[in-house]
């Protein structure tokens, strides 16, 4: 077999495998634009007149906008809160390396290894006692906490690559820690900062364990809303699809633009 044929076979297999893997999402998008009857037709319909009615009905049926708002508030809120706590820590570890820094980083990572289900009972009880059950505040804080180790790690691995000479120069010129942070580190670390924020945003948006267990009607996020469609009496595929497309759309598109950083961030910099 010639190298040319092999190359063609390889490319075709790659495309085929990709289309098979992507098919469920393609089908989800397609179903979102069908009527309920078309959605369950046998054999399945590929050609049909698309309708937008599902997207409108999703709002009527389940107050979509409230859940979307909860998702937006909790994911952006937790990202902001997380960065506020993580950035100073990463800054300190990257530029003022102390003997304990390495151990501290390892310890932070180890807290991420605690399975969420291990903390379910106490967190639930604490939330209940403090009246924070089913509130956006509780979710925001919990998302921020559980993403904190990843954020510190990611920021640290970006910041430590900033050449020390630049910082030394700024210090020689009499820049204080604020001046140094604002005029030197911030511009150079902006890429890392935005990648970290993006990863945190994606993780919080898709988080399902805490939102399913700690929220009901008031503070539920989109992940919880979609779960409510699993009840047998609510089997409207077209509406389920429309709600799903609305729930995953923004994050999937965001993911497309930043896939590499996001996935590498999850490996804590262990794969370059």
């Amino acid at each position: 077999m010639s190298a040319r044929t092999l190359h063609v076979i390889r490319a075709c297999t790659a495309w085929l495998a990709t289309l098979v893997l992507f098919f469920p999402l393609f089908w989800l998008c397609l179903t979102a634009f069908k009527t309920e009857l078309q959605a369950i037709s046998v054999p399945p319909l590929l050609l049909f007149t698309p309708t937008l009615e599902n997207f409108a009905l999703v709002q009527d049926r389940s107050n979509y906008l409230l859940y979307a708002w909860n998702s937006i508030v909790t994911s952006f809120g937790s990202t902001a809160l997380g960065l506020l706590i993580a950035a100073p820590a990463a800054y300190s570890m990257a530029f003022f390396r102390a003997p304990g820094t390495r151990g501290l980083l390892m310890w932070m990572l180890s807290t991420k290894m605690m399975p969420a289900v291990g903390a379910l009972v106490p967190v639930y009880v604490l939330a209940q006692l403090s009246g924070l059950l089913d509130t956006r505040i509780a979710l925001t804080v919990i998302f921020a906490m559980s993403n904190l180790p990843i954020m510190v790690w990611m920021l640290y691995s970006y910041l430590k690559d900033i050449p020390r000479e630049i910082l030394e120069a700024a210090r020689m010129d009499g820049a204080g820690i604020w001046g140094e942070a604002r005029h030197v580190v911030l511009p150079l670390g902006l890429g890392g900062l935005s990648s970290t924020a993006l990863l945190c945003l994606v993780l919080s948006w898709n988080e399902a364990f805490w939102s399913l267990n700690l929220t009901s009607a008031k503070a539920g996020t989109l992940a919880a809303l979609i779960a409510s469609y699993s009840s047998p009496e609510g089997l409207f595929w077209a509406k389920l699809s429309a709600a799903s497309v609305l729930a995953i759309g923004p994050i999937v598109v965001l993911g497309w633009f930043s896939q590499k950083q996001l996935v590498q961030g999850l490996t804590f910099g262990a794969v370059k």
Binding site: I85, F209, L212, S230, V263
Partner: protein
């Protein structure tokens, strides 16, 4: 420069993480030794190891451990094998490679509940689902996936979600391979399987290990997929440890027993974590 500044900057992160870790842990340990049922208010009596005994002798316990490990092992095996395979396919340039990468990674950004319902209804429904329609086209009897193969169904969903992660790590790693070395091996007459075995696989050893460890952490506590599709059933056929603890705590209202189970889950995760930490720690020194 104030020499306390670095420490002051560190404090918020360290303090919050410490609280986030230690408060639930201490509470869980305490709850696991007392009688505490949300439906039976009263004093929290110390009952020793009774909660542990109850959790471990629960007829659902052994199947849950097995299910957890089967789920973990199968998803890791599927994502590694297919991930390496796909990465090798996508490694060389071909028309539309950028599009293929974008499409490949998409499932990873889908939230677990959407993933679960998409598969449960539109793919695996025994009458209207895509799988059923495909099998009828070939004259086969459609399979009722979630009723007959609940655990396998969950494995498929979770593997679909995590395959992109594994694949992208492998693609990234393959890009740092020494092309001249491969060329030299090819000139020396190494065929494709030999090249893979002696060049690609050793190079991929590290990313493979990383993927295994990371997936271990996330997959030990798969929850949303089970919650939204099978509800752990039929019976306990797709109940894993995480879901069993959830059932005890929020459906059985037995905080004590759930806490004993939670400590078991923590133990399980820590075994995986020790290896991961060691490996990443080595990387930090380089």
């Amino acid at each position: 420069m104030n020499r306390f500044m670095p420490r002051a900057l560190l404090t918020p992160a360290v303090a919050t993480l410490f609280l986030w870790m230690i408060v639930p842990l201490v509470m869980t340990i305490y709850f696991s030794f007392v009688r505490y049922n949300l439906m039976q208010p009263g004093a929290l009596d110390f009952i020793g190891l009774a909660n542990y005994e109850y959790f471990v002798t629960d007829p659902d316990f052994a199947p849950a451990v097995v299910n957890t490990l089967v789920l973990l092992g199968s998803v890791i095996a599927i994502t590694i094998v297919l991930g390496v395979g796909l990465a090798l396919l996508v490694d060389a340039p071909f028309p539309g490679r950028a599009v293929v990468r974008v499409l490949l990674i998409s499932p990873f950004f889908v939230m677990p509940t959407v993933n679960a319902l998409l598969w449960k209804h539109m793919m695996m429904n025994p009458i209207y689902g895509v799988f059923a329609q495909v099998s009828r086209t070939f004259g086969l009897t459609p399979i009722d996936w979630l009723a007959d193969y609940p655990l396998l169904s969950v494995i498929l969903m979770v593997a679909w979600q995590w395959l992109p992660f594994s694949c992208l790590i492998m693609i990234t790693s393959l890009q740092s391979m020494d092309r001249e070395q491969i060329e030299a091996a090819r000139m020396d007459g190494a065929n494709l399987p030999q090249q893979f075995w002696f060049l690609h696989l050793p190079h991929l050893a590290r990313p493979i290990a990383v993927v295994i460890m990371i997936e271990m952490i996330f997959l030990l506590s798969v929850f949303a997929e089970i919650f939204t599709t099978t509800g752990g059933g039929p019976g306990n056929a797709s109940t894993n440890i995480a879901f069993l603890i959830f059932k005890q705590a929020l459906m059985g209202f037995d905080v004590g027993v759930a806490s004993a189970g939670a400590l078991f889950a923590v133990l399980l995760a820590n075994i995986a974590a020790v290896f991961l930490i060691r490996m990443i720690g080595k990387n930090l020194d380089r």
